[in-house]
């Protein structure tokens, strides 16, 4: 079955430095790290100490409040450091890989022989479970609940984002097995959002409902696709998972090993050679870079993920658990004289026609991190609505979120959104509102109060 969805509201921003269609193997990362902070709302409980030896796939910590969810090491080696922050919060678990690269091996039956519950417990122990996230709340799926459907978006429309078709080359079979696994976890269907004008292998995947999606960013956001295909009502759960993580899941069921391979699109005007790199989850950012990129690092911002919804990291930090791209753009900590006048500095992209940047059509922009203004009271109306292709009133929702009015948030559709869907709202806002932060905090409040 195929349903076509066209997204008209939104904005695709073309930036300089998209990753070239070349996949190279990254040098082995000197250290590998799992950051519990990547798993929103998880409180880690450690099972290893500094100096312990682990195999790839060995458990290193679990979630304190949902203790069946286990987190494992992506490589074999020694636990080099457990870094803590304020109030002894665990920030990083750094593993020094050894040369042997041994895997913990799990004996598996045929997929058909598993019941849904048995399958869940295998996944939970394997370390694959954290790949599955749930909507609402955009956190790791609760294994005690069952989703009405599972959604996978096979493309991203964010600026400089990864092309999963390139990232998954050679993993097509793993992907199919992963889909078969997921099918056993839901009574509903597994939905696959596929870009409508491509002929990728995703269109030939079996046991899924394929939906052809076209249009501008955020058409590739899984939340937008859910909204148009099978919207989430209060109390319902939908699970989502990234395409490469489906392949990791599939590989685990073929080999019994947790092979945390990650293909990263290294992109942005801040890198000399934007390409795809094959590495492991938790590798250092520096291990992906050329010598000159590291030399220029102080002038640049490194982002785990895309430039709209990613997370700032230092060049010495590590790639995140979920992201398939690392974006590098120049820092914008400089002044612009009279830059507030309309129709000046047209080299900066703008959706608003108070700049002439729209005249230059499909030019690729070099965007920096300048806020291009200061935060102000909400004055301009109608701009958020232009970039949120959902039947949701973004400004009214955000105002209720700021007022922490739970009932109003629910009736205005907070359960259907994730922070990433508001990335463009952040971007276009004249008043420089931090919409993603507001949405994240409200989802956390609801998770606590409603659950």
């Amino acid at each position: 079955m195929s349903n076509d969805i066209r997204i008209k509201k939104g904005l695709s921003i073309k930036l300089k430095g998209a990753a070239e269609n070349i996949v190279i193997k990254a040098p082995i990362s000197p250290t590998v790290c799992i950051k519990p902070t990547d798993f929103h709302s998880v409180t880690p409980k450690m099972v290893v100490k500094e100096g312990d030896r682990v195999k790839a796939g060995d458990e290193i910590f679990f979630s304190k409040y949902l203790d069946s969810i286990r987190f494992v090491s992506p490589v074999s080696g020694t636990i080099q450091e457990i870094k803590r922050g304020d109030k002894r919060k665990i920030l990083e678990i750094v593993v020094k890989p050894d040369a042997s690269n041994v895997f913990k091996s799990t004996k598996l039956k045929d997929l058909d022989a598993y019941s849904s519950d048995e399958l869940k417990s295998v996944l939970l122990k394997s370390g694959c479970w954290p790949f599955i996230k749930q909507r609402p709340y955009d956190v790791i799926a609760d294994p005690n609940q069952s989703p009405k459907s599972i959604f996978i978006s096979t493309f991203s429309t964010a600026p400089l984002a990864v092309d999963y078709q390139i990232a998954l080359t050679g993993q097509e079979n793993d992907f199919q097995v992963g889909i078969d696994v997921l099918n056993k976890l839901t009574e509903g269907s597994v939905h696959l959002g596929v870009q409508s004008d491509t002929t990728s292998f995703f269109t030939e995947v079996k046991n899924v409902e394929i939906h052809k999606v076209s249009g501008v960013h955020p058409a590739g956001n899984v939340g937008i696709q859910i909204h148009h295909i099978d919207p989430i009502n209060a109390g319902e759960r939908v699970w989502v998972i990234n395409p490469e993580d489906v392949a990791i899941l599939g590989r685990f069921f073929q080999t019994g090993k947790f092979e945390a391979q990650r293909t990263i699109a290294l992109a942005g005007s801040g890198v000399a050679k934007p390409v795809y790199l094959k590495t492991v989850i938790g590798a250092t950012i520096a291990s992906l870079l050329q010598a000159e990129d590291i030399e220029n690092a102080p002038k640049h911002r490194f982002i785990n993920g895309d430039v709209l919804s990613g997370e700032t990291v230092s060049v010495n930090n590590y790639i995140g658990f979920y992201n398939n791209s690392v974006s590098v753009i120049p820092e914008g900590n400089h002044y612009r004289m009279f830059g507030w006048l309309p129709f000046v500095n047209n080299n900066i992209h703008s959706m608003s026609r108070t700049s002439l940047s729209w005249l230059f059509g499909k030019r690729e922009y070099v965007a920096n991190t300048n806020l291009n203004g200061e935060d102000r009271a909400l004055v301009v109306t109608g701009e958020m609505e232009r970039v949120l292709p959902m039947d949701i009133l973004p400004m009214q929702l955000l105002k209720e979120c700021m007022a922490q009015n739970i009932e109003k948030m629910e009736s205005l559709g907070i359960y259907e959104v994730a922070p990433e869907d508001f990335g463009l709202v952040d971007y276009v806002s004249t008043s420089k509102i931090e919409a993603q932060t507001i949405i994240r905090e409200s989802l956390d409040l609801l998770l606590k109060e409603v659950g």
Binding site: N233, E236, R301, I303, V307, L308, G310, T312, S327, I329, E331, G332, N333, R336, F338, G339, W340, L341, P342, N345, H349, M351, S352, T354, S355, S357, A367, N368, T369, N370, L371, N372, G373, E374, R376, A377, V379, V380, T381, G382, E385, D391, L393, M395, Q396, S411, L412, G413, G423, L424, D426, Y427, V428, S429, T430, S431, K432, E434, A435, Q436
Partner: protein, 384 residues
Amino acid sequence: MNLRNTIDQIKKPFGKGQKLERFAPAINALDTFLYVPNHTTQKGAHIRDAVDLKRTMITVIIALVPALIYGIYNTGYQYFIQTGEAFTFLDALIHGSWKILPMIAVSYGVGLAIEFAFAVYRGHEVNEGYLVTGLLIPMIMPVDIPLWMVGISVAFAVFIGKEAFGGTGMNILNPALTARAFAFFAYPTYMSGNQVWVSEASAVDGISGETILGSLASGNEVSYSIFEMFMGSIPGSIAETSTLWVLVGALILIFTGVGSWRIMVGGVIGAAVVGMLFNLWGANELMSFHWINHLIVGGFAFGVVFMATDPVSAAQTTKGKWIYGILVGVFCILIRVFNPAYPEGVMLAILLMNVFAPTIDHYVVQANIKRRKNRMANVTLKTA
């Protein structure tokens, strides 16, 4: 970057933990008019659109300039044709400038002083909204209103119209119209009648300085052609008379996306439909006044383009904007026709709709909520 260094030196005592930290919003406001600051994104999206509130507000001012310049010229033009002196284009501009520039200076002086004081008092940055309000207020006043009245109206508008509600973005009424309404009710002799619309009218004998709507309300014939009404060489508030130059401003606002075209189009539709209906009825002079003329005389065009579109006091939802715009047009003509005390209806129509805008939005929001509830009800039906 030498100027930059100098500014940084000047700003030092205003920094965090320094002596003059309290006054930082004031100095920052001045600094940010020279430079877009070096702030970078700390959370959320890492890149941001080039637009900011300063840019938006300055765009509105650019859109106001054609009407303002014509208003200045028309002030001189009305004066010279009444006195019968020979004059050139330049004479008219100079006469108008002498009248109007002091009003603008008073408006900005009083208004910005209050804005800065509130910013320092509340510890937030100075918002740019007053740049537009401060220019709008003189543009919608009669030319001979004393400067102290302008000052008091501005103070009333900023205190009661805006800051009392919590400042920029929170006000219910359009501040510029609040100022005009204040002057209108506090000093009626300076705000209506047939003496106030032409500069120094009292000094000239036998003047006929009535506005078109004023003479219609008192049952007189109109002596101006449609061309004059459209071009704006008629008596009226300073910058409201020229539909042509207001339209140029409207195009700038619509093209840049700063002003809501839905409100403007809605307003024109509302006024045109009601105007046509009254034309059919035709019980008095104002009713039989052709509906097209209704659109181009008085403050209708100016009000719908520059006042009704104020995003803070207008409806904020897309559908709400249509309803709000149409109702502004409808009420404008209704007040003109049915209320002989107020021959100009647009000010009161917009203020009235400002009050009702949150109600309009409420129903649009409720419709959205209801759709979501229905969807959920359908799902439970299916599974049950």
